[in-house]
Symmetry: D2
Subunit: 367 residues, 4 copies
């Protein structure tokens, strides 16, 4: 069955390279298959409420370089358990999946391309099981999705963090300071690890390896004695002390009262170190600048290839799948195989070996 | 009197472009005047304690692109009031200026080039008054020094902050969020103002204009009603609310107890806004990545020109002066004229007009 | 007389920062003066033929970061001497200025903002003399316009060329090669000079100083003998040998027959050096990447300030003027004062002193 | 047998990431194995003539961000067929491999790490066969080496070319011009292909697909008719017309007489297009800026991982091998398996599909 009308939505947190995917899906569907392309706005919300925009080669023309997503996104709307306020101001949860199915049929779509992370793709799988032909395109800035070598947006985030490290290196060195760089990664430390390696961090702390403060302090002192009275620490936002609790910016976990909300692990760690070592300690929190902005060439190529492959898969009728990078190829993976898996850093991963072999302290031993 | 041996030191906080100055001074002194160049290490400490390194065209060859300073720097050592621990562990303050003068004479220097901010240049002036021939070279990342159009390092800091803004724009827009970017500027808001203008901030808060939270909140709400449910706020670290207190990272002002130390104005403002508007608010703290790293071409040219002009001034015997940019020329300003002046943003400055005319809210009115 | 409807056009070659000007003019006119803003497309062609687009805060919202101009531009259409083909295929020249005046009146504009270089501003002046209220905004990537300290786009071009230099430095050094970087500047050498200084060029050749090949070769040989068998040459496209002719890419000057068209001064110089020195010589031609792409923060701020000041000037009725940067202020300059002046590099300019004092060879002496 | 003393050399053209490899080998050997590390200077020349430098954690400390190689490199010296001038000024070829073996023994090295491309690794293999324990580390900017997913330096080159594309896009669009970007790739088109995809090129010409000028011209005309009177062409330096000859800068192939040497395929193609279409055509030649400068984070991580894995392989006695990236792992490949293979772009590669599916013309069909 030829493709005549296809839909696409982007869900979850944003990520550099989303627009490259949208552009590639649009161009391939139009140029190769003479299909119409309908964009659903703000993730599954657009499907539930029928908010769409027509996508053309013209309105996707200049978006390859843009961060964000021209379709908008949200990480809230789950059509199977939609949360709304009722007239009494109470939150009620409703299943609006039939409404989403109806929109799909009303739009006469032959296929829906769903770009998203684990949660979004799980919803896509549910719709597939309900009879909606779906092809998934994996997206997570943290690179923690099973089944694909890399997700787009990840290398951009690493590059942004690495650029920041380069700048901290020279100022740390000139000033005999401890510089802390807090980067994204609530559960997986890939960004901190790759950017820390790339930027020459002396200490890298990731969620998968709860740190022992003694090792961190010892490393800094060891460097002082060796004539290098400055240290650069790369810390993932989800890192925590052995036996400690995660302290993240603006999340429910640490939403305590008043001033205690201020700052995350980067500031907490700074306070801990200041108590033990008489050096100035300064914290930089990269935050969302890792998510936004123009994607690196790697992510643009990856996004483009995934988009093209997704449309080709749909044209062959291979629904219920996700396109994935298995270097150097783009392959198809059944959506059902992803459920509930988060690809965190294994404690014996080659990257950890590369870090420790070159003298990086991971907070788990003397180094 | 021809220049035979000249010294150079860098004092105060670091700043992109310092190495361009060191390189230019070294090359000009050697190539034009056949002089020897002695680098004093770690600001005036190097002069007090005689810690030096010879500077040559070879060891300054590849430093034009490097952030920091190959001479090291410190913003602590004041030779006229040097703070040390005595045997009882108490801090004692001593005048070591004679010791510094002695080093200067022992090294047989004809001149000392002092690269630094207001505090460092004031010390340079004191030494000039004691008979040491001095030429000052102005340095402050905040661009708040009187007598010069721009100081090197400032444009680099603005560019770094502007790059971060560009990334926040796309992610803010895709996500309906309030994004806060906290940048340097404890007393002067030049970085926040120029980078905010360059990056298209919707709200810019600077130390010179204590903000009224109502105006900030109203602006965000106004944007929501106009169909733009995201806002980008640029805030200088020294900004504070009308009637409020400055909250800065790692400074004595806010070094209270325990968790209250975490974060600065960026997080405080986020908490304030979250209480009033049901949008997600995220904070990025650029911190020292504004100070470090490779200088922009503007700052490299400026640093080079200042360095050359300083040596030429010394060769003409024009001591007790500071080189300064009066576009398009490098001119000389008497060191004595600088004392105690900090060039903050006047409340009727053209840049503020440019901001408000294009719809930027400065926290001082409805806009 | 209050501003009700204003027009804006961009003429001449493109330049990073044009969109910052368009955005600032649009926002200021709308936000401050409640005026309508009409964009004329493709320079004066849009005025002659009445091709317009309405400009709003919405459609100028995301353009601050974009290179080029959303209005399009051309460096061909002169309404006073418009060149067209007649039915016989011959070029005929017609005066269409009345047609342009008619469009202006039909659109009921109170003022026209003309963004352009010397040629475009001269046309603006002619229209002013015919009774059209005009405010000029200076634009030239070469920074060779009289009356303003800097034009926007220039610093961006210098930064792009400086980044290229940084990359050539490391590869030249590793390989014992002569690397040539050809940059823009047909008549004025400002880009080559500033980027050459910023990038640590060993030799800088500009149009204003015809080079003597002997000095160039001697400098390279001198470096070889000193243990640095690589050299980096920055050359402006308009540079030429003493007694030689300019060789520029794609211009009438050198459009000879067949293969001779290939390449410009960068390749010519490479061939000259290869004949005299047994080193590999490689040429990079930056070309139009200096003109395009996202502007630096400096150029965005400058473009924004000029745009705001132009509208403010129009609101005060100060027509027949050009806004200009006289650091740190934006001032007004009568359009009539600019005629026929090109600001080339004076042979005794401070920047040349800075270059030669630090050992850069300018092709005019042993150094 | 524990590692006590190891050597390392870098051969062939330079490439971003070489210093990351040198740093990782040095640190791993010292920190993990307490070995001494000897750097051989200028590729195999250093081995033949015993020119060395000791490598320490200190002198490799700040090199992660630097382009080039601190050891120097050459693509000339083949110890098995060394070319020298004799007293009569004639070139004589000598086998100096025994001299190289002697240096290796005199230095009491346990292993030599050879970083290089196909030619250099072939020499490494020959020495391995003579009894020198060798581990190879693959390097080629063109990414055309068999046995490894990516070589370091490639992604950096692609990013540099992509950045240039971004700038050409905006200037091409504002000006109705054909912009040509000539990038590296004499035999393999990977850089042109990935950077072309990433940068949104309309036409990509690579060595593996001789282009038909008619298709190129038709594509440009098709775009003009569709209302986009500008086109961006990405061309690899080794691309050539069907039935035509390669025209490369500064190589023996095209070293004809006089002016004909000027320029390469980028200028040739410009001349061809200008003859057929009345648009301005401008050429940018990126040249060696693709090889130099700070590596992307991807290449720094890859270089670091390869360096660590090479030392670990040597410590296990696995000589005669090359470390290689088989995503996500670093694996070992026998050096003997590489001989004579160049990994060019297969004419049915997924990347070509991605290009054509999104409307890119490859000069081999109407598109």
């Amino acid at each position: 069955m030829p493709l005549k009308r296809v839909g696409i939505l982007t869900g979850g947190g944003d990520c550099s390279g989303l627009n490259a995917v949208i552009r590639a899906v649009t161009r391939t569907a139009i140029i190769q298959y003479k299909a119409k392309v309908i964009g659903l706005e703000n993730g599954f919300d657009g499907l539930v409420f029928g908010r769409t925009m027509g996508l053309t080669t013209r309105n996707t023309r200049d978006i390859l370089t843009l961060g964000g997503t021209i379709l908008g996104t949200t990480n809230k709307g789950n059509p199977f358990a939609y949360r709304e306020f009722n007239d009494q101001g109470e939150i009620v949860v409703r299943d609006l999946s039939d409404q989403a199915m109806k929109t799909f049929r009303d739009l006469e779509l032959d296929c829906l391309f769903v770009v998203g992370g684990e949660g979004t793709l799980e919803l896509a799988h549910k719709f597939q099981l309900m009879g909606m032909p779906v092809v998934g395109i994996p997206k997570t800035i943290d690179n923690d999705l099973f089944g694909t070598d890399y997700t787009f947006g990840f290398q951009t985030a690493v590059q942004v963090a690495c650029d920041a490290m380069d700048r901290l290196q020279t100022t740390g060195r000139s000033h005999d300071r401890v510089m802390i760089l807090e980067v994204m990664g609530r559960y997986a430390g890939w960004i901190a690890l790759e950017a820390g390696l790339a930027g020459g961090a002396h200490i890298i702390l990731i969620p998968e390896i709860p740190y022992n403060l003694d090792y961190v302090v010892t490393k800094i002192q060891h460097r002082i004695r060796g004539g290098s009275p400055f240290s650069i620490i790369m810390v993932a936002e989800g890192a925590c002390e052995q036996g400690g609790q995660r302290i993240s910016q603006g999340t429910a976990d640490n939403r305590l009262q008043g001033v205690e909300q201020l700052g995350g692990i980067g500031f907490h760690l700074a306070a801990q170190i200041r108590e033990r070592i008489p050096l100035e300690v300064r914290t930089t929190v990269l935050g969302h600048i890792q998510r936004g902005g123009s994607p690196t060439s790697f992510d643009r190529v990856l996004g483009t290839r995934l988009g093209v492959a997704a449309v080709d898969a749909a044209a062959r009728g291979e629904f219920g799948t996700m396109v994935a990078l298995k270097t150097p190829d783009i392959i198809l993976v059944p959506l059902g195989e992803l459920a509930g898996l988060c690809r965190t850093v294994p404690v014996d991963h080659q990257l950890l070996r590369a870090a420790e072999a070159t003298g990086v302290n991971l907070g788990r031993g003397a180094m």
